[in-house]
Amino acid sequence: MNDTHTNINTATDSKTSVQATDSRQTAVPFSFAQQWEFTLKELRETLRDRRTIVTLMAMPLLLYPMLGLGLRFLAFQESSDQKVEYRLAIGSETEGAWLSEALQLGNSLLAASSEAKEQQPAPDVQLLVPNDPSEFDLEALVKNSAADVGVRVQLNGASVGNQFPATARVQLLQSRDSVRSRDAADYVQQRLAAANIDWIRQTSELNGKPFRLPVEQIRVLLEPAETGSAVLGLLPLILLLMTVTGGVYPAIDLTAGERERNTLETLMALPVPRFRLLVAKFVAVVAVTMLTGLMNLLAMSITLYALQLDKTLLGGDGFTLGLGCKLFLALSAFALFYSAVLLLLTSSARSFKEAQAYLIPLLLLSIAPGLVILMPGWNLASGTAALPLVNMLLLSRELLEGTVTLLPAMVAIVSTVLYGVAALAMAAQVFGNDAAAIGSRGGWKDLLQRPKELSQQPSITAALVGLAILFPAYFVTSGVLSRGDAQPSGRLGLSAAMTIALFVGLPWLLLRWQRIDVLAGLGLKKTSWHYYVAAGMLGIATWPWIFELVVLAQSIGIRGIDLSQIENVESLLAGWREVPLWLIVVCLGVVPGVCEECFFRGYLFNGLKQHLNATWTIVVAAVAFGLFHVVLAGGAAPERLLPSTLMGLLLGWMAYRSGSIVPSIVLHAIHNSTLLLVVQSRDLLAEWNIGQVEQVHLPWLWLAVSAGVLGVGLMITRLAIKPAPFSTKEPETI
């Protein structure tokens, strides 16, 4: 130790020391610079390790060329477009010359009479002629699959007068169990038969008798209804499994490795929430997984191109840059999900060995859905789009096949990302939980253990898990409801019941499980009357602007519902005319307004604010709200993303300012109800020359008035006394 410095504070009397002293007043706040430093450390730890680079770079380069050969074999086996080669063994050169001439004649005759030539490429025919006929055993060649068919030609030598070379007796030797041998024999037989028929025709016409076959045959080749190539089904499985292998080692190293190296205790001694430390590790694992995915994608595309498999398998333009980008997007979502799952599993392990023991079953389990999707009838639909792993495999396959549709693809990606976020939040529960104490560890039971003490707010983990459950549940139940044949009023009732069950029932159950006071957990609290007034004004004045945004989005081409679905909506609206207006307003305006607020600005919002500041809490809850509104029964409505997210921002700001969700409920319910009343009054609007509501802008006067009311509402919200600081002391519960 340096003797010239007897006091370690000496050099820090200046700026550093002052800052350190000041920082004692509050806990370390979140900053991107700090989070980046955490991430950088994890990336350094991971990417400087040669083992990671080997997995990342070398594995795809080695694997895909080898796999490519196998894929080519499979592809040629199943491809109907591929040129087939038949090997015909024949006893002598003379016989070969005759057969060649006869087949050529047969080919030309068939080509002239059949349409099949345009649909199926002619096979290549290879004649195997012996150098030494005495050692040539035709039967053995066919039996040993060295030739597809053996042909014995006994030439009679007589000329028959037409193009036919000479008369002959032909014997075909075919392998009984080989499809290829049968096809080759058919090929020869068809051509010889064509030549025979042509001879009969010519002879008949020479004798002055018109020749006409009693049966005329035309073979038309049809594309199968399901293009489901087994190779195309295998490719996503290989791609996804290879991608996740990149994340396995870093996930173990950055979690169980911390314990094994005895660095976990000092890490846990940092004054930052575990979630943030784990997010840094997560980013590093995702980065490596995505790099592995990219390498695999490149290696796969190069292999497909080099082995000329791209057009064979994918058809059309083969493997394009656009397809590569779409696949990378799907891989990225999958990388997010799988990296979080890996961290969840490895976070409770004390050593590499233990972590590996957890991951091997996971990898084996991951193969099962890959094999399932090879079975016919599996596609990305309402039932499968929210199934973890299966959805990404199906999405990748449909991207390769070019049959993907927007809504299930979006649901697959969003649900996968949400599952990933939930898994990460759960991993944070386990990672370092009493883990710094050597000899103790966070366990799985920590995740399922019911808290012993009562609390006021849900944790961020519980909030994100709730979101991850709600999204697929909402998607699936909306799909089921849209298929029902119920009467309009019955359907409205069911829709309201579903909204209550999902958006209030689910958080209620989760809050009860966590022993959290339900009213406090949902943010149902008293607040100043100013906020109710402001919420009422904003509720009335917001819809024209949301409407204009939807129209704007549609005018620039962002539109998810096609014409047939618009017809469905039109018929639905027509059906509603039979339903009392109050029922429509209650089921589609008030109930969603109340219930969605309970979840988004209540349960989710309160969980998020445990770890995020006010701005991020409002933004995250608003984006989740926006994404939910893109999912419509029977189709996606991307044009709703921006307006709904903006609406979510306004509702979140109202909840933040008022410290309660009640004003947000008022705002939301009035907004929904007003919009419904406008839609139901379309005839009246038509009289005012606003007939095509979805295409024509609202009158300027309307917009001006609503802008004024909106401004006043915002001002009241801004100026009203805020009941309590964000996320500390809460206002009195109702």
Binding site: T16, A20, V28, A436
Partner: protein, 259 residues
């Protein structure tokens, strides 16, 4: 500066690791928390640090309570543990900067603090080498420096000399002197009793989670009539009312003397 009040940790239903421990450590004071393996020393440090939740009781530093604000508590503490490892793929410079920023310093302040500590702890020669290539002594210096990156008012040392040779132990001794001169409140947990006599101002003898004796060496000598910490410790074992039998005491004595 540090105050422990009735701090208790019970594992499961009946395993009492720390039993109603109360003590106080002032600024510039080195407090030796002594005891055999399993006495509850490390558990106590982890409760102060907020890594373990106390079953009951409270730990307070400069008015900050671990039960209500564990993150702020961590900011006030530097931890040195003999078992702590280093990140093998980072350099000492990167490691120190990482922890400095983790403790809330800005990037510039982290650079400055790293430079200062590198000079004081003599790290300059190997500051940019990978930690995996450092000798045990060099790694020990980095570990000691890491605990001071945020200039904490309190430093907790858990078995700081375990596994070190004479030179390594001398580094730790100098380090503790440095901390004392910097007016930090220090708790040293060790079972190296003779060594503790050299650098601690006051002692607390922990046995089976309970604080049996507390005071300066002179006070302990006066109250127990024993000349050294080793003898005081042996007396403690003899007086232990739980009656573990003489064979246990003999084996404990052998262990103490072997140290």
């Amino acid at each position: 500066m540090i105050e422990l009040s009735q701090l208790t940790k019970v594992y499961g239903e009946d395993v009492v690791a720390v039993d109603q421990l109360s003590l106080a450590v002032g600024q510039g004071e080195v407090y030796g928390l002594l005891g055999p393996n399993g006495a509850g020393k490390t558990t106590t440090l982890r409760m102060i640090l907020g890594l373990l939740q106390p079953t009951s009781g409270e730990a307070t530093i400069l008015g900050c309570r671990v039960s209500t604000d564990p993150l702020r508590m961590k900011q006030l503490i530097g931890l040195v543990s003999a078992s702590a490892g280093l990140y093998q793929w980072l350099t000492p410079r990167e490691l120190l900067q990482y922890f400095a920023i983790g403790f809330g310093l800005s990037l510039e302040q982290a650079f400055q603090r790293t430079r200062e500590l590198a000079e004081v702890m003599e790290l300059e020669r190997f500051l940019d080498r990978r930690c995996a290539t450092l000798s045990t002594g060099q790694a020990q210096r980095v570990n000691l420096a890491r605990a001071l990156v945020h200039d904490p008012p309190v430093v907790l040392l858990d078995e700081p000399t375990r596994g070190l040779d004479v030179v390594g132990a001398k580094i730790v001794f100098d380090y503790v002197q440095l901390l004392r001169q910097s007016n930090k409140a220090i708790i040293v947990c060790t079972h190296q009793l003779e060594e503790a006599e050299r650098f601690c101002d006051r002692f607390g003898l922990l046995y089976r989670g309970k604080l049996r004796y507390e005071g300066t060496l002179a006070e302990l000598r006066a109250s127990t009539g024993q000349p050294s910490l080793v003898d005081i410790f042996l007396k403690l074992l003899r007086d232990d009312g739980s009656g573990n039998g003489s064979s246990n005491i003999d084996s404990a004595k052998e262990a103490v003397l072997a140290q």
